[in-house]
């Protein structure tokens, strides 16, 4: 056929098709087609993933075929017009794979395989060319790969089928490679029977276009051959076979064969006898190896030997679930999935990362391992088939299963398309718009390929993550739900099995809670059904899942009817997760939460969890108190507000919104505001009772940890009361009124009630508990002038007068400053006295029989040690050094460093131990809901503390180890600085 006159199509048309390469014109001309034929070709090129590549490939093929013979070129041209299938296949392949285009250029005759009329080439195993030599095999392999790709790219087969065909091709390739190896080494071949077992993706019949093919080798000595000879022979055969598959020559390479999954890994012998394999797995194998065996399948070599291997191994795999520690390993695997660290390739990695292929595969394998022991139907090798079986068996929700399978297919298709271009093993999409464009078009996004693909992928990842969270838990709910008879569901036995695997110690109890939480038609039950799958997962990460689930049930029964609660949890994803963390770790916060339903609003609101400022608190408390004339109602309003603030702080502490000293500061502010409110209410009450204005001006002095702004979650409030009679008032009347106010304050705050009580402890006043509860300013002055003991001056170091009458506060402060910060420091005698008291306190106040090392307050290196060290420095030097004039321990130590009274390193050791002790005391209070100055001796409590501090719950000893280390270092400093 002589070429008819041709006219180039307009540049506009080419651009519309997607052709951007300036060489497109020239390529089109090379095809030498008449106009109608050319339009046909352009129509096909327009739908190829990369139109330029499709056209260039076609042009190259025509040129290459022409070199074989002119007749060939003519018949290709004719076929392009007459055989639309051929044209479609060629443009699809060229548009998606440069590597296969290269193959066709070197072996142009293979285009014939793509004609609709051409019978399929012989099976690889029967192909003479392939059998001849390794290069022949490589060519034959590519020839079959071309066919698989053509069917794949023209949408004739599904992604699962493509993966299965690739695995079949791999089997055949291994077989031929083995035969060649046997031919190369006839002596060795005679000494043993030999089989190749496919593992990994190949074993599961879900191979990629390009990946390592995982195998193990098994052999048996032939008759007359010794074990030794056989193993040497088998090793050489295996090595030769692996080389044939992985060598690079002018004809390229096939794929690397990886035998790393064999017993003992890379240090084990390449091939073993069947008995050798069985012996190894019987005695030495670890759990992941059994997981690998899930995918073992004979692929090539002696079929009888391969079959016997498969039978022997199969029997062992499903017993693996009986291994001790299996449950722990299952959980570890699950965490591994969840904790996979997002890399810099985030958003471009197909395999790793949350929502990636590995994520799905792990989830499926995990469920297989948990349930496959009892249910043989689950023993499928490929991910999709296993997922199908899990869904059919009710182990995975039907919709979840279908959605997950769809996501998996999408990701695998993407992976296939990505690899096909250069036949390279890549799992990360390069940061290159060209590639994204081609991929997007290959996956059907014609108009906006890059944006379209990105958003589809993002959605898929989100979907997988969403499904993943519920995959394990949703069927548990169905197990207890009242479903119509005949509906598929997890059996109670299987549900218990799964709960146990996830770390619930009492699966029966857990199922009962689930039933109680989800049964019924109420809105609450409906929302809880939605929430629980995720909540169960979060509980499983905590130290005591059973307790957390029970706490959830309690909270829900208490708060479930308040609209705040459900709305918050349903609408704010973060709120539910934060609630789970609170329930997991803190009895204190849980109890506080149950008492103040509206505090649920704090969840999911990081800003809201920040402590309120003093002014805001004082204003609110004042307003609340003034709203009520009745003192009982007024104080209740104050206490309720304190309750809410405590809740805010406790939750903030659990969720790490508050760090370090912030908890102490926040608690101090709340307490000061509460005392201020109580003082106002008590004053009003006494005035009402006495029917006249109060004849005194009063102040409440903060002492101890309150004065130091260092309150813990378990601390009482240390205070002293001071007053000044109003001129003209009798001494007795004034004293009685002040006493009445102080008593009333203490009574109102300590009374049991809905809101937690606050104990005002006045034990640090002059003469201690024997002394009068209230004193006038003058009385304090007289007492301190005459009787004061060193310990009282020491106690005053942390006195802070800020509540009550400002003038009284100021005068009190002026009174005590010279006492606590004497200008000339302390004389030797007083220093000795302070040390002696400390020694006595150490000897007497430690609880009997307790391990001193576990005492956070009085033990060596504990709070008292550090505080006394700071306080002795203050009493000796604060008169000269204004920086030391502070009520706060850490600030005092820092000032001592600045004044060169203390080494930086020593101060750091003291501060570290002091902060850790404070943190641990708070953590103990959170976990137990009861105060204690000692590290918990109960292991559960200790695991809870570890969890709160962000450590592994399985390493409860670490709590004690960390504390002892900090305390030891602090004690060494105390020995040098305090006792020296």
């Amino acid at each position: 056929m002589s070429p008819s006159p041709r006219r180039s199509p307009s540049p506009g048309r080419l651009a519309r098709i997607g052709l951007q390469d300036p060489a497109a014109d020239r390529h089109l001309a090379t095809l030498e087609l008449d106009e109608s034929a050319r339009d046909l070709v352009l129509d096909q090129i327009a739908v190829a993933a990369d139109p330029d590549a499709a056209l260039a490939g076609l042009a190259c093929l025509v040129a290459a075929v022409a070199t074989v013979g002119h007749g060939q070129a003519a018949s290709l041209r004719t076929a392009l017009v007459d055989d639309p299938q051929l044209l479609h296949r060629l443009t699809a392949v060229f548009g998606s794979s440069r590597a296969l285009a290269d193959h066709l250029r070197t072996h142009p005759e293979h285009w014939q395989d793509l004609r609709s009329a051409t019978p399929a080439p012989p099976l690889l195993a029967d192909d003479e060319g392939a059998a001849a030599d390794p290069d022949g095999l490589r060519v034959a392999y590519r020839r079959r790969l071309l066919l698989i790709a053509a069917a794949d790219l023209t949408g004739v087969t599904s992604v699962d089928h493509v993966a299965a065909s690739l695995s079949d091709l791999a089997d055949a390739t291994l077989e031929v490679a083995l035969r060649q190896a046997q031919a190369q080494l006839p002596e060795q071949a005679a000494r043993c029977r030999f089989a190749v077992i496919a593992m990994g993706k190949c074993g599961a019949c879900e191979l990629n276009y390009v990946s390592d093919v995982d195998v193990v080798f098994v052999h048996e000595p032939s008759e007359g051959a010794s074990e030794d000879e056989a193993v040497r022979a088998a090793t050489r055969l295996a090595a030769a076979m692996m080389r044939i598959c992985s060598d690079h020559t002018a004809e390229g390479t096939i794929w690397p064969v990886d035998a790393g999954l064999r017993p003992e890994g890379r240090s084990g012998p390449l091939s073993r006898t069947l008995a050798g394999h069985v012996g190894y797995y019987d005695r030495w194998a670890s759990s992941w190896e059994f997981q690998a065996l899930l995918k073992a399948r004979p692929a090539a070599g002696d079929p009888d030997l391969g079959r016997r291997y498969a039978e022997a191994v199969d029997a062992m795999v499903w017993r693996a679930g009986e291994r001790p520690g299996f449950v722990a390993e299952v959980q570890a695997m699950r965490r591994k999935v969840v904790e996979q660290i997002p890399s810099e390739q985030m958003g471009r990695a197909l395999k790793l990362g949350p929502g990636g292929l590995r994520d799905i595969e792990f989830a499926v394998q995990l469920l297989q391992l948990v349930h496959g022991r009892g249910d043989e139907r689950l023993r499928e090798q490929s991910t999709l088939r296993a997922l199908g079986a899990l869904t059919a068996g009710g182990y995975v929700g039907r919709e979840d299963g279908a959605a997950l399978a769809e996501a998996y297919r999408f990701l695998r298709t993407m992976e296939h398309r990505l690899q096909l271009w250069q036949l390279r093993r890549i799992q990360v999409v390069p940061d290159d718009d060209e590639v994204w464009r081609r991929l997007g078009r290959a996956l059907g996004h014609r108009t906006k390929p890059v944006i379209g693909l990105r958003s589809q992928w993002q959605e898929c990842l989100r979907e997988v993550r969403r499904l993943h969270e519920k995959l394990f838990y949703r069927p548990l709910l169905e197990a207890v739900a009242a479903l119509p008879a005949g509906e598929l569901r997890l059996s109670p036995e299987a549900a218990r099995l799964r709960l146990t695997a996830l770390g619930y110690d009492d699966p029966r109890g857990a199922l009962a809670h689930l039933e109680a939480l989800t049964s019924g038609l109420s809105r609450r039950a409906a929302i809880q059904r939605q929430l629980l799958p995720a909540m169960l997962g979060w509980f499983a990460d905590g130290p005591d899942p059973d307790a957390a689930l029970l706490a959830f049930r309690r909270v829900s029964e208490r708060l479930g009817t308040t609209h705040w609660y459900l709305q918050r949890l349903r609408d704010e994803g973060e709120a539910a997760e934060q609630l789970a963390r609170v329930l997991n770790s803190s009895r204190l916060a849980t109890d506080l939460l149950m008492g103040t339903p509206d505090a649920v609003a704090l969840l999911g609101d990081r800003e809201g969890l920040r402590p309120r400022t003093t002014q805001v608190l004082a204003r609110e408390m004042d307003a609340a108190a003034k709203r009520h004339v009745d003192p009982v109602a007024a104080i209740e309003a104050v206490r309720t507000m304190r309750h809410r603030e405590l809740c805010r702080i406790a939750i903030g502490d659990v969720l790490d919104v508050l760090d370090g000293d912030a908890v102490g500061e926040a608690l101090t502010q709340v307490t000061l505001a509460t005392i201020t409110g109580a003082l106002a209410v008590a004053t009003a009450a006494v005035q009402a009772e006495q029917r006249r204005p109060l004849p005194v001006r009063m102040a409440v002095v903060s002492m101890g940890r309150l004065g130091g702004h260092e309150l813990g979650l378990a601390s009482d409030a240390d205070v002293m009361f001071v007053y000044v009679p109003i001129v003209g008032t009798g001494e007795r009347a004034a004293g009685a009124a002040a006493h009445a106010v102080a008593q009333e304050m203490r009574r109102m705050l300590a009374r049991p009630g809905a809101a937690p009580p606050l104990e005002l402890d006045a034990g640090l006043r002059p003469e201690g508990r024997q002394g009068p509860l209230v004193r006038t300013l003058a009385s304090y002055a007289a007492y301190y002038a005459r009787w004061s003991q060193p310990w009282e001056a020491q106690a005053l170091l942390r006195a802070e007068a800020v509540v009550g009458d400002p003038e009284v506060c100021a005068r009190f402060t002026a009174l005590i400053d010279p006492l606590r910060w004497p200008r000339d420091g302390l004389d030797e005698h007083t220093i000795t006295e302070v040390r002696r008291i400390k020694a006595r306190v150490e000897a007497e106040r430690l609880p009997r029989g307790a391990d001193p090392a576990g005492q956070l307050k009085l033990g060596p290196g504990g709070l008292t040690d550090v505080e006394w060290t700071a306080q002795l420095l203050q009493m000796r030097h604060a008169g000269r050094i204004p920086g030391l004039q502070t009520t706060r321990t850490v600030a005092a130590l820092e000032a001592a460093v600045a004044a060169q009274l203390l080494d930086r390193d020593d101060a750091d050791d003291l501060i570290t131990a002091w902060r850790l002790a404070q943190r641990l005391r708070d953590a103990v209070m959170q976990v137990r809901g009861r105060p204690s100055d000692a590290l918990p001796t109960d292991l559960r409590d200790r695991a809870g503390v570890a969890y709160l501090l962000g450590w592994s719950v399985l390493d409860s000893e670490r709590v004690s180890d960390e504390w002892r280390r900090a305390a030891r270092r602090a004690r060494a400093v105390v020995d040098r600085v305090f006792w020296a």
Binding site: E322, A850, D851, T937, S956, E957, D961
Partner: protein, 445 residues
Amino acid sequence: MGKQEDFVLRAIEERDVRFVRLWFTDVQGFLKSVAVAPAELDNAFDEGIGFDGSAIEGFARVYEADMLAKPDPTTFQILPWRGEGPATARMFCDILLPDGGASYADPRHVLKRMMSKAADLGFTFYPHPEIEFFLLKEQPAAGAVPVPVDNSGYFDHTAQGLGHDFRREVITMLESMGISVEFSHHEAAPGQQEIDLRYADALSTADNIMTFRVVVREVALGQGIYASFMPKPFTQFAGSGMHTHLSLFEGDRNAFYEAGTEYQLSEIGRSFIAGLLRHSAEVTAVTNQWVNSYKRIIGGGEAPAFVCWGHNNRSALVRVPRYKPDKGQSTRAEVRSIDAACNPYLSYALLLAAGLKGIEEGYELPAEAEDDVWSLTDGERHALGIEALPQNLDQAIKVMESSELVAETLGEHVFEFFLRNKRAEWQAYRRQVSQFELDSMLPLL
């Protein structure tokens, strides 16, 4: 139940084992044993055998007395000295808390934790001990002078030598328990023997040393003599040490080896040795834990009393043995201070910690000591920067007290207990009026 547990249960059936001894080691390095009937093993594997930890030296705080001993099935062996007929077997145990977490008081856990730190850095640690001990004619009695079984010397082959037979029996038993022996010979002092174990990972080696001490004592009893690992039973003869060759592997490769360098020693090897040296005084209270240990160290001769290293120097604390051509895998460092009466778990954990510290911090290896350090004057040693190891237990305790490396490696609990225990030992010792004082002063004063 897993494969290894299955294997143990089958072996018990087949070999007619009537008792299984569960072994573990207290903080001082004494072997503890609890016998269980095979029927209880199922439970032991699943949950462990409960015992009162407060009864074991150094294990528990009073309030958390409950502990679990969980047998490690890979250590299952039949005890060969129990003779024919119904057999007795042993397994080493890990000590757990009732919640299943490891107890920090368990010396085995201390070593495991350090090994996993090494593994995080990509290393496996292989110690290889040369264990020395004395054979005495009789069981020790209070006030009696010990008498060695023979009067032979280093490498002596005695025709009817009791020691010869003795070593053969010991080695047979060890091999039957899966413990390979590399080498054995008569040592320099009368009655003194040396047996070298083949190298294995640190945990197996420490387990093997515990087993070794039992086997040696059992065989001696069977032959009517007495074996002792006391570091220095005779004033006039050399003491018994446990020189240990150390090497680190990265996968299959000896990380100490580098072709073409001095002594074929890699940078990693040099830093490791530098770490051993720099921290040697801190770990001495553990590697040489008895008051008697120091009598060996300060005894002169080949005892390593000074912190230095050398190549062919038998007075150095760390020796880098001669390199054998084509044996790159054998490059190693020999620590010569440690003695056989130590707790091997704690000692090896500390040696590993010291060496790794050297690697992590990139310590520089000081110059090699080429002279016999004992023959130098104090001034010369000072000029060369060679310091002495602690001269007695008290000094060793003092150095250890301020060692963060030792505290972190042992964990605070073991650290604290160990120091308390050793202080008590030193207090008790220094109150004693010794034979030396009586002999030299009573006649004169």
